[in-house]
Symmetry: C2
Subunit: 244 residues, 2 copies
Protein backbone atom coordinates (compact mmCIF):
# COMPACT_ATOMS: atom_id res chain seq x y z
CA UNK A 1 0.00 0.00 0.00
CA UNK A 2 1.26 3.47 -0.90
CA UNK A 3 0.06 7.00 -0.17
CA UNK A 4 0.39 9.32 -3.17
CA UNK A 5 0.44 13.12 -2.84
CA UNK A 6 -0.37 15.16 -5.97
CA UNK A 7 -0.16 18.86 -6.77
CA UNK A 8 -2.79 19.75 -9.36
CA UNK A 9 -3.60 22.88 -11.36
CA UNK A 10 -6.91 23.49 -13.06
CA UNK A 11 -8.91 26.00 -15.03
CA UNK A 12 -12.05 26.46 -12.92
CA UNK A 13 -14.11 28.03 -15.69
CA UNK A 14 -15.67 24.88 -17.10
CA UNK A 15 -16.33 23.08 -13.79
CA UNK A 16 -19.15 23.15 -11.30
CA UNK A 17 -16.59 23.63 -8.56
CA UNK A 18 -14.08 21.22 -7.09
CA UNK A 19 -16.05 18.75 -5.00
CA UNK A 20 -17.53 15.61 -6.55
CA UNK A 21 -21.21 15.90 -7.55
CA UNK A 22 -23.52 13.27 -8.88
CA UNK A 23 -24.46 14.92 -12.15
CA UNK A 24 -22.14 17.87 -12.74
CA UNK A 25 -18.60 18.04 -14.07
CA UNK A 26 -16.20 18.75 -11.18
CA UNK A 27 -12.42 18.66 -10.71
CA UNK A 28 -12.54 15.91 -8.07
CA UNK A 29 -14.90 13.95 -10.31
CA UNK A 30 -12.50 14.10 -13.27
CA UNK A 31 -9.51 13.08 -11.13
CA UNK A 32 -11.38 10.16 -9.55
CA UNK A 33 -12.58 9.09 -13.00
CA UNK A 34 -8.96 8.96 -14.19
CA UNK A 35 -7.83 7.03 -11.09
CA UNK A 36 -10.68 4.57 -11.54
CA UNK A 37 -9.49 3.83 -15.09
CA UNK A 38 -5.95 3.21 -13.81
CA UNK A 39 -7.05 1.08 -10.82
CA UNK A 40 -10.08 -0.58 -12.42
CA UNK A 41 -11.86 0.12 -9.11
CA UNK A 42 -13.18 3.36 -7.53
CA UNK A 43 -10.60 5.50 -5.70
CA UNK A 44 -11.54 8.40 -3.41
CA UNK A 45 -9.15 11.33 -3.10
CA UNK A 46 -8.66 13.58 -0.08
CA UNK A 47 -8.00 17.22 -0.91
CA UNK A 48 -6.65 20.22 0.99
CA UNK A 49 -10.13 21.72 0.68
CA UNK A 50 -12.67 22.56 -1.97
CA UNK A 51 -12.71 25.55 -4.29
CA UNK A 52 -15.93 27.09 -5.58
CA UNK A 53 -17.21 27.15 -9.14
CA UNK A 54 -15.04 29.26 -11.51
CA UNK A 55 -12.16 29.47 -9.00
CA UNK A 56 -8.81 28.31 -10.42
CA UNK A 57 -5.86 26.52 -8.85
CA UNK A 58 -2.15 26.50 -9.53
CA UNK A 59 -1.32 24.38 -6.51
CA UNK A 60 -4.26 22.40 -5.10
CA UNK A 61 -3.13 19.27 -3.24
CA UNK A 62 -4.79 15.87 -2.81
CA UNK A 63 -3.75 12.38 -1.77
CA UNK A 64 -4.99 8.86 -2.31
CA UNK A 65 -3.97 5.35 -1.25
CA UNK A 66 -3.14 2.68 -3.77
CA UNK A 67 -1.92 -0.90 -4.09
CA UNK A 68 -0.21 -0.16 -7.38
CA UNK A 69 3.57 -0.06 -7.27
CA UNK A 70 4.25 2.66 -9.86
CA UNK A 71 7.18 5.08 -9.98
CA UNK A 72 6.54 8.76 -9.19
CA UNK A 73 7.32 9.98 -12.71
CA UNK A 74 5.12 7.29 -14.25
CA UNK A 75 2.19 8.21 -12.00
CA UNK A 76 2.34 11.74 -13.32
CA UNK A 77 2.35 10.63 -16.93
CA UNK A 78 -0.35 8.01 -16.40
CA UNK A 79 -2.87 10.33 -14.72
CA UNK A 80 -2.24 13.27 -17.08
CA UNK A 81 -2.69 11.07 -20.14
CA UNK A 82 -6.31 10.44 -19.04
CA UNK A 83 -7.25 13.83 -17.53
CA UNK A 84 -9.08 16.42 -19.69
CA UNK A 85 -7.08 19.44 -20.87
CA UNK A 86 -8.28 21.77 -18.08
CA UNK A 87 -6.78 19.67 -15.23
CA UNK A 88 -3.06 18.88 -14.97
CA UNK A 89 -1.01 17.05 -12.34
CA UNK A 90 2.17 19.08 -11.79
CA UNK A 91 3.85 16.89 -9.21
CA UNK A 92 3.45 13.40 -7.74
CA UNK A 93 5.20 12.20 -4.59
CA UNK A 94 5.01 8.94 -2.65
CA UNK A 95 4.56 10.06 0.97
CA UNK A 96 4.30 8.74 4.50
CA UNK A 97 0.93 7.54 5.81
CA UNK A 98 0.89 10.27 8.45
CA UNK A 99 0.54 12.81 5.63
CA UNK A 100 -3.06 13.95 5.07
CA UNK A 101 -3.89 16.49 2.34
CA UNK A 102 -6.52 18.17 4.49
CA UNK A 103 -5.50 17.69 8.11
CA UNK A 104 -1.76 18.30 7.65
CA UNK A 105 -2.16 21.72 5.96
CA UNK A 106 0.12 24.38 7.47
CA UNK A 107 -0.21 27.27 5.03
CA UNK A 108 -2.51 28.19 2.18
CA UNK A 109 -1.85 30.92 -0.34
CA UNK A 110 -4.57 32.46 -2.48
CA UNK A 111 -4.17 35.14 -5.10
CA UNK A 112 -6.80 37.44 -6.55
CA UNK A 113 -6.39 39.28 -9.85
CA UNK A 114 -8.21 42.56 -10.40
CA UNK A 115 -7.77 44.55 -13.60
CA UNK A 116 -8.63 48.24 -13.82
CA UNK A 117 -8.08 48.17 -17.58
CA UNK A 118 -10.87 48.18 -20.14
CA UNK A 119 -12.72 44.86 -20.39
CA UNK A 120 -10.92 42.13 -22.36
CA UNK A 121 -13.12 39.20 -23.44
CA UNK A 122 -10.06 36.95 -23.83
CA UNK A 123 -9.32 37.21 -20.09
CA UNK A 124 -12.89 37.37 -18.79
CA UNK A 125 -12.76 33.94 -17.12
CA UNK A 126 -9.37 34.60 -15.48
CA UNK A 127 -9.45 38.04 -13.89
CA UNK A 128 -12.03 40.39 -12.39
CA UNK A 129 -12.48 43.57 -14.44
CA UNK A 130 -13.41 46.83 -12.77
CA UNK A 131 -13.31 49.86 -15.05
CA UNK A 132 -13.02 52.33 -12.15
CA UNK A 133 -10.41 54.34 -10.28
CA UNK A 134 -9.40 52.98 -6.88
CA UNK A 135 -7.65 54.65 -3.98
CA UNK A 136 -4.72 52.23 -3.77
CA UNK A 137 -3.32 53.71 -0.55
CA UNK A 138 -6.57 53.06 1.28
CA UNK A 139 -6.56 49.46 0.00
CA UNK A 140 -2.99 48.97 1.21
CA UNK A 141 -3.91 50.35 4.62
CA UNK A 142 -6.87 47.97 4.81
CA UNK A 143 -4.74 44.97 3.83
CA UNK A 144 -2.48 45.57 6.86
CA UNK A 145 -5.56 45.30 9.10
CA UNK A 146 -6.29 41.82 7.75
CA UNK A 147 -2.92 40.50 8.87
CA UNK A 148 -2.79 38.71 12.21
CA UNK A 149 -5.17 36.43 14.12
CA UNK A 150 -8.78 37.53 13.93
CA UNK A 151 -12.35 36.30 14.18
CA UNK A 152 -13.49 36.20 10.54
CA UNK A 153 -17.14 35.34 11.25
CA UNK A 154 -18.27 38.49 9.42
CA UNK A 155 -16.44 37.25 6.33
CA UNK A 156 -17.97 33.81 6.21
CA UNK A 157 -20.84 32.49 4.18
CA UNK A 158 -24.11 32.59 6.11
CA UNK A 159 -24.48 28.89 5.26
CA UNK A 160 -21.55 28.06 7.46
CA UNK A 161 -23.01 28.55 10.97
CA UNK A 162 -22.16 25.01 12.02
CA UNK A 163 -18.44 25.59 11.82
CA UNK A 164 -17.84 27.09 15.27
CA UNK A 165 -14.24 28.20 15.09
CA UNK A 166 -13.97 31.14 12.71
CA UNK A 167 -10.68 32.42 14.05
CA UNK A 168 -7.95 32.35 11.43
CA UNK A 169 -4.46 33.77 11.09
CA UNK A 170 -3.38 35.70 8.01
CA UNK A 171 0.41 35.86 7.82
CA UNK A 172 0.55 38.13 4.82
CA UNK A 173 -1.96 40.26 2.88
CA UNK A 174 -0.16 42.09 0.10
CA UNK A 175 -0.90 44.03 -3.08
CA UNK A 176 1.42 44.09 -6.09
CA UNK A 177 0.61 46.71 -8.71
CA UNK A 178 1.62 46.41 -12.33
CA UNK A 179 0.10 49.52 -13.91
CA UNK A 180 -3.62 48.87 -13.79
CA UNK A 181 -3.27 45.15 -13.04
CA UNK A 182 -3.56 44.36 -9.34
CA UNK A 183 -2.35 41.13 -7.74
CA UNK A 184 -3.54 40.43 -4.20
CA UNK A 185 -1.68 37.79 -2.18
CA UNK A 186 -3.21 36.21 0.92
CA UNK A 187 -1.19 33.74 2.97
CA UNK A 188 -2.72 32.18 6.08
CA UNK A 189 -3.24 29.04 8.11
CA UNK A 190 -6.64 28.52 6.48
CA UNK A 191 -9.58 30.44 5.07
CA UNK A 192 -13.34 30.17 5.54
CA UNK A 193 -15.61 29.55 2.60
CA UNK A 194 -16.01 32.80 0.58
CA UNK A 195 -13.68 34.59 3.04
CA UNK A 196 -11.28 35.95 0.44
CA UNK A 197 -14.00 36.99 -1.98
CA UNK A 198 -15.83 38.84 0.82
CA UNK A 199 -12.54 40.46 1.93
CA UNK A 200 -11.92 41.45 -1.71
CA UNK A 201 -15.44 42.89 -1.95
CA UNK A 202 -14.76 45.04 1.08
CA UNK A 203 -11.34 46.08 -0.24
CA UNK A 204 -12.96 47.20 -3.51
CA UNK A 205 -15.57 49.23 -1.61
CA UNK A 206 -12.78 50.82 0.45
CA UNK A 207 -10.85 51.58 -2.74
CA UNK A 208 -13.95 53.17 -4.24
CA UNK A 209 -14.19 55.24 -1.00
CA UNK A 210 -17.64 53.88 -0.26
CA UNK A 211 -16.40 52.51 3.08
CA UNK A 212 -13.69 53.55 5.55
CA UNK A 213 -10.98 51.14 6.73
CA UNK A 214 -12.36 51.38 10.28
CA UNK A 215 -15.02 48.92 9.15
CA UNK A 216 -12.40 46.14 9.40
CA UNK A 217 -11.71 46.28 13.17
CA UNK A 218 -15.44 46.92 13.64
CA UNK A 219 -16.28 43.66 11.84
CA UNK A 220 -13.87 41.63 13.99
CA UNK A 221 -15.83 42.81 17.04
CA UNK A 222 -19.33 42.79 15.55
CA UNK A 223 -20.51 39.84 13.52
CA UNK A 224 -22.37 41.70 10.86
CA UNK A 225 -22.46 40.45 7.28
CA UNK A 226 -24.60 43.48 6.33
CA UNK A 227 -21.46 45.67 6.44
CA UNK A 228 -19.56 43.27 4.14
CA UNK A 229 -22.28 42.38 1.74
CA UNK A 230 -20.42 42.37 -1.55
CA UNK A 231 -18.70 39.11 -2.63
CA UNK A 232 -16.12 39.71 -5.40
CA UNK A 233 -16.44 37.58 -8.57
CA UNK A 234 -15.05 34.03 -8.42
CA UNK A 235 -13.01 34.02 -11.64
CA UNK A 236 -10.30 36.34 -10.23
CA UNK A 237 -9.44 33.88 -7.44
CA UNK A 238 -6.63 31.30 -7.55
CA UNK A 239 -5.61 28.70 -4.95
CA UNK A 240 -1.93 29.29 -5.46
CA UNK A 241 -0.10 27.04 -3.01
CA UNK A 242 -0.64 24.66 -0.06
CA UNK A 243 2.23 23.96 2.33
CA UNK A 244 2.56 21.11 4.83
CA UNK B 1 -27.84 56.42 -43.67
CA UNK B 2 -24.56 55.91 -41.82
CA UNK B 3 -21.65 53.50 -42.19
CA UNK B 4 -20.31 52.26 -38.84
CA UNK B 5 -16.81 50.77 -38.44
CA UNK B 6 -16.18 48.63 -35.36
CA UNK B 7 -13.03 47.12 -33.84
CA UNK B 8 -13.93 43.93 -31.99
CA UNK B 9 -11.99 41.54 -29.74
CA UNK B 10 -13.11 38.02 -28.97
CA UNK B 11 -12.15 34.81 -27.24
CA UNK B 12 -12.28 32.23 -30.01
CA UNK B 13 -12.38 29.23 -27.70
CA UNK B 14 -16.15 28.89 -27.39
CA UNK B 15 -17.05 29.67 -31.04
CA UNK B 16 -17.30 27.57 -34.17
CA UNK B 17 -15.20 30.18 -35.93
CA UNK B 18 -16.00 33.70 -37.03
CA UNK B 19 -18.32 33.35 -40.03
CA UNK B 20 -22.08 33.05 -39.55
CA UNK B 21 -23.40 29.46 -39.62
CA UNK B 22 -26.96 28.26 -39.53
CA UNK B 23 -26.75 26.13 -36.40
CA UNK B 24 -23.46 26.85 -34.63
CA UNK B 25 -22.42 29.69 -32.36
CA UNK B 26 -20.12 32.07 -34.27
CA UNK B 27 -18.71 35.56 -33.63
CA UNK B 28 -20.45 37.09 -36.67
CA UNK B 29 -23.68 35.38 -35.60
CA UNK B 30 -23.52 36.91 -32.10
CA UNK B 31 -22.76 40.40 -33.45
CA UNK B 32 -25.58 40.25 -36.01
CA UNK B 33 -27.95 38.99 -33.31
CA UNK B 34 -27.10 42.04 -31.17
CA UNK B 35 -27.53 44.42 -34.12
CA UNK B 36 -30.88 42.84 -34.99
CA UNK B 37 -32.11 43.54 -31.44
CA UNK B 38 -31.04 47.19 -31.75
CA UNK B 39 -32.46 47.66 -35.27
CA UNK B 40 -35.50 45.36 -34.96
CA UNK B 41 -34.56 44.11 -38.43
CA UNK B 42 -31.70 41.87 -39.68
CA UNK B 43 -28.36 43.60 -40.26
CA UNK B 44 -25.46 41.99 -42.16
CA UNK B 45 -21.92 42.95 -41.22
CA UNK B 46 -18.88 43.00 -43.51
CA UNK B 47 -15.64 41.93 -41.88
CA UNK B 48 -11.94 42.22 -42.73
CA UNK B 49 -11.95 38.44 -43.14
CA UNK B 50 -12.86 35.33 -41.22
CA UNK B 51 -10.86 33.62 -38.50
CA UNK B 52 -11.01 29.87 -37.92
CA UNK B 53 -12.43 28.04 -34.91
CA UNK B 54 -10.45 28.66 -31.68
CA UNK B 55 -8.51 31.60 -33.19
CA UNK B 56 -8.75 34.79 -31.10
CA UNK B 57 -8.85 38.46 -32.08
CA UNK B 58 -7.74 41.65 -30.38
CA UNK B 59 -8.47 43.83 -33.40
CA UNK B 60 -10.88 42.29 -35.90
CA UNK B 61 -12.74 44.97 -37.93
CA UNK B 62 -16.24 44.97 -39.42
CA UNK B 63 -18.67 47.55 -40.76
CA UNK B 64 -22.41 47.82 -41.25
CA UNK B 65 -24.85 50.39 -42.61
CA UNK B 66 -27.66 51.78 -40.50
CA UNK B 67 -30.49 54.30 -40.54
CA UNK B 68 -30.16 54.90 -36.81
CA UNK B 69 -28.68 58.26 -35.83
CA UNK B 70 -26.76 57.25 -32.70
CA UNK B 71 -23.58 58.84 -31.31
CA UNK B 72 -20.32 56.85 -31.54
CA UNK B 73 -19.96 56.40 -27.77
CA UNK B 74 -23.57 55.26 -27.45
CA UNK B 75 -23.15 52.70 -30.23
CA UNK B 76 -20.32 51.10 -28.30
CA UNK B 77 -22.35 50.91 -25.10
CA UNK B 78 -25.49 49.68 -26.84
CA UNK B 79 -23.85 46.79 -28.70
CA UNK B 80 -21.67 45.68 -25.76
CA UNK B 81 -24.66 45.62 -23.42
CA UNK B 82 -26.21 42.87 -25.60
CA UNK B 83 -23.10 40.90 -26.65
CA UNK B 84 -22.05 37.81 -24.65
CA UNK B 85 -18.99 38.12 -22.42
CA UNK B 86 -16.58 36.58 -24.96
CA UNK B 87 -17.08 39.31 -27.60
CA UNK B 88 -16.39 43.00 -26.95
CA UNK B 89 -16.53 46.08 -29.18
CA UNK B 90 -13.42 48.17 -28.43
CA UNK B 91 -14.05 51.06 -30.79
CA UNK B 92 -16.88 52.43 -32.93
CA UNK B 93 -16.43 55.06 -35.61
CA UNK B 94 -18.85 56.60 -38.09
CA UNK B 95 -17.00 56.42 -41.42
CA UNK B 96 -17.27 57.40 -45.06
CA UNK B 97 -19.17 55.15 -47.48
CA UNK B 98 -16.01 54.46 -49.46
CA UNK B 99 -14.66 52.55 -46.44
CA UNK B 100 -15.10 48.78 -46.72
CA UNK B 101 -13.91 46.49 -43.91
CA UNK B 102 -12.74 43.83 -46.36
CA UNK B 103 -11.78 45.62 -49.58
CA UNK B 104 -10.01 48.59 -47.96
CA UNK B 105 -7.60 46.50 -45.85
CA UNK B 106 -3.98 47.70 -46.16
CA UNK B 107 -2.22 45.75 -43.42
CA UNK B 108 -3.03 42.79 -41.21
CA UNK B 109 -1.08 41.77 -38.16
CA UNK B 110 -1.30 38.32 -36.62
CA UNK B 111 0.50 37.07 -33.52
CA UNK B 112 1.19 33.50 -32.50
CA UNK B 113 2.04 32.47 -28.93
CA UNK B 114 4.16 29.40 -28.33
CA UNK B 115 5.19 28.36 -24.82
CA UNK B 116 8.10 26.02 -24.16
CA UNK B 117 7.16 25.84 -20.47
CA UNK B 118 5.44 22.88 -18.87
CA UNK B 119 1.75 22.57 -19.76
CA UNK B 120 -0.59 24.96 -17.91
CA UNK B 121 -4.29 24.02 -18.05
CA UNK B 122 -5.31 27.61 -17.24
CA UNK B 123 -3.74 28.84 -20.50
CA UNK B 124 -4.51 25.84 -22.70
CA UNK B 125 -7.05 27.69 -24.88
CA UNK B 126 -4.78 30.72 -25.34
CA UNK B 127 -1.29 29.52 -26.22
CA UNK B 128 0.30 26.53 -27.93
CA UNK B 129 2.38 24.42 -25.53
CA UNK B 130 5.42 22.55 -26.77
CA UNK B 131 7.52 20.96 -24.04
CA UNK B 132 10.65 20.72 -26.24
CA UNK B 133 13.91 22.54 -26.88
CA UNK B 134 13.99 24.63 -30.05
CA UNK B 135 16.94 26.04 -31.96
CA UNK B 136 15.90 29.68 -31.78
CA UNK B 137 18.62 30.92 -34.15
CA UNK B 138 17.39 28.64 -36.91
CA UNK B 139 13.84 29.90 -36.37
CA UNK B 140 15.01 33.52 -36.58
CA UNK B 141 16.87 32.74 -39.81
CA UNK B 142 13.75 31.14 -41.25
CA UNK B 143 11.57 34.11 -40.28
CA UNK B 144 13.77 36.42 -42.38
CA UNK B 145 13.06 34.22 -45.41
CA UNK B 146 9.31 34.77 -44.99
CA UNK B 147 9.66 38.54 -45.32
CA UNK B 148 9.06 40.01 -48.78
CA UNK B 149 6.72 39.21 -51.68
CA UNK B 150 6.35 35.50 -52.31
CA UNK B 151 4.05 32.89 -53.79
CA UNK B 152 2.52 31.23 -50.69
CA UNK B 153 0.65 28.47 -52.57
CA UNK B 154 2.54 25.81 -50.57
CA UNK B 155 1.23 27.39 -47.37
CA UNK B 156 -2.44 27.44 -48.32
CA UNK B 157 -5.23 25.05 -47.48
CA UNK B 158 -5.73 22.46 -50.20
CA UNK B 159 -9.40 23.49 -50.20
CA UNK B 160 -8.51 26.88 -51.59
CA UNK B 161 -7.59 26.01 -55.19
CA UNK B 162 -10.12 28.47 -56.62
CA UNK B 163 -8.30 31.49 -55.23
CA UNK B 164 -5.79 32.02 -58.05
CA UNK B 165 -3.58 34.75 -56.66
CA UNK B 166 -1.54 33.32 -53.81
CA UNK B 167 1.17 35.97 -53.91
CA UNK B 168 1.32 37.94 -50.67
CA UNK B 169 3.75 40.39 -49.11
CA UNK B 170 4.99 39.98 -45.55
CA UNK B 171 6.44 43.24 -44.26
CA UNK B 172 7.66 41.84 -40.99
CA UNK B 173 8.12 38.38 -39.47
CA UNK B 174 9.60 38.69 -36.01
CA UNK B 175 10.15 36.65 -32.87
CA UNK B 176 10.17 38.12 -29.36
CA UNK B 177 11.50 35.83 -26.65
CA UNK B 178 10.55 36.17 -23.01
CA UNK B 179 12.33 33.25 -21.38
CA UNK B 180 10.46 30.20 -22.66
CA UNK B 181 7.48 32.21 -23.95
CA UNK B 182 7.73 32.97 -27.67
CA UNK B 183 5.72 35.69 -29.43
CA UNK B 184 5.69 35.57 -33.23
CA UNK B 185 4.57 38.71 -35.09
CA UNK B 186 3.50 38.58 -38.73
CA UNK B 187 2.61 41.80 -40.54
CA UNK B 188 1.54 41.64 -44.17
CA UNK B 189 -0.86 42.89 -46.83
CA UNK B 190 -3.00 39.78 -46.35
CA UNK B 191 -2.74 36.10 -45.52
CA UNK B 192 -4.20 32.95 -47.07
CA UNK B 193 -6.39 30.64 -45.05
CA UNK B 194 -4.22 28.56 -42.65
CA UNK B 195 -1.10 30.33 -43.98
CA UNK B 196 0.24 31.42 -40.60
CA UNK B 197 -0.49 28.11 -38.90
CA UNK B 198 1.30 26.23 -41.72
CA UNK B 199 4.23 28.69 -41.53
CA UNK B 200 4.29 28.15 -37.75
CA UNK B 201 4.25 24.38 -38.26
CA UNK B 202 7.27 24.65 -40.52
CA UNK B 203 9.05 27.02 -38.11
CA UNK B 204 8.54 24.50 -35.30
CA UNK B 205 9.94 21.69 -37.45
CA UNK B 206 12.94 23.88 -38.31
CA UNK B 207 13.41 24.71 -34.61
CA UNK B 208 13.29 20.99 -33.79
CA UNK B 209 15.95 20.53 -36.52
CA UNK B 210 13.73 18.16 -38.45
CA UNK B 211 13.88 20.46 -41.48
CA UNK B 212 16.48 22.90 -42.85
CA UNK B 213 15.64 26.53 -43.63
CA UNK B 214 16.36 25.87 -47.34
CA UNK B 215 12.90 24.30 -47.47
CA UNK B 216 11.43 27.83 -47.46
CA UNK B 217 12.85 29.11 -50.81
CA UNK B 218 12.23 25.62 -52.20
CA UNK B 219 8.52 25.88 -51.32
CA UNK B 220 8.18 29.26 -53.06
CA UNK B 221 9.38 27.60 -56.27
CA UNK B 222 7.71 24.22 -55.86
CA UNK B 223 4.07 24.03 -54.81
CA UNK B 224 4.34 21.09 -52.49
CA UNK B 225 2.18 20.87 -49.38
CA UNK B 226 3.85 17.54 -48.54
CA UNK B 227 6.95 19.44 -47.37
CA UNK B 228 4.85 21.69 -45.07
CA UNK B 229 2.40 19.20 -43.77
CA UNK B 230 2.12 20.24 -40.14
CA UNK B 231 -0.48 22.94 -39.24
CA UNK B 232 0.19 24.47 -35.80
CA UNK B 233 -2.69 24.49 -33.29
CA UNK B 234 -5.32 27.23 -33.69
CA UNK B 235 -5.51 28.47 -30.09
CA UNK B 236 -2.08 30.16 -30.22
CA UNK B 237 -3.18 32.48 -33.06
CA UNK B 238 -4.51 36.02 -32.63
CA UNK B 239 -5.71 38.50 -35.28
CA UNK B 240 -4.01 41.44 -33.66
CA UNK B 241 -4.66 44.47 -35.86
CA UNK B 242 -6.14 45.51 -39.21
CA UNK B 243 -5.06 48.80 -40.79
CA UNK B 244 -6.79 50.76 -43.59
Amino acid sequence: MFRIKCIVSYDGSKFFGYQRQLKERTVQGEIEKALKIIHKTPITIQSSGRTDAKVHAYGQVFHFDTDLDIKQANWKRAINSILPKDVYIKEVKIVDFNFHARFSVKIKEYRYYLSLNEYDPIRSDYVCFLDRTLNINKIKGALKLFEGTHDFTSYSSSLQHKDKNKIRTIYKAQLNENNKELEFIFIGNGFLRYQIRIMMGLLIEIGLEKKEIEVIPYLYEHHDRSKARFTAEAQGLYLYRVEY
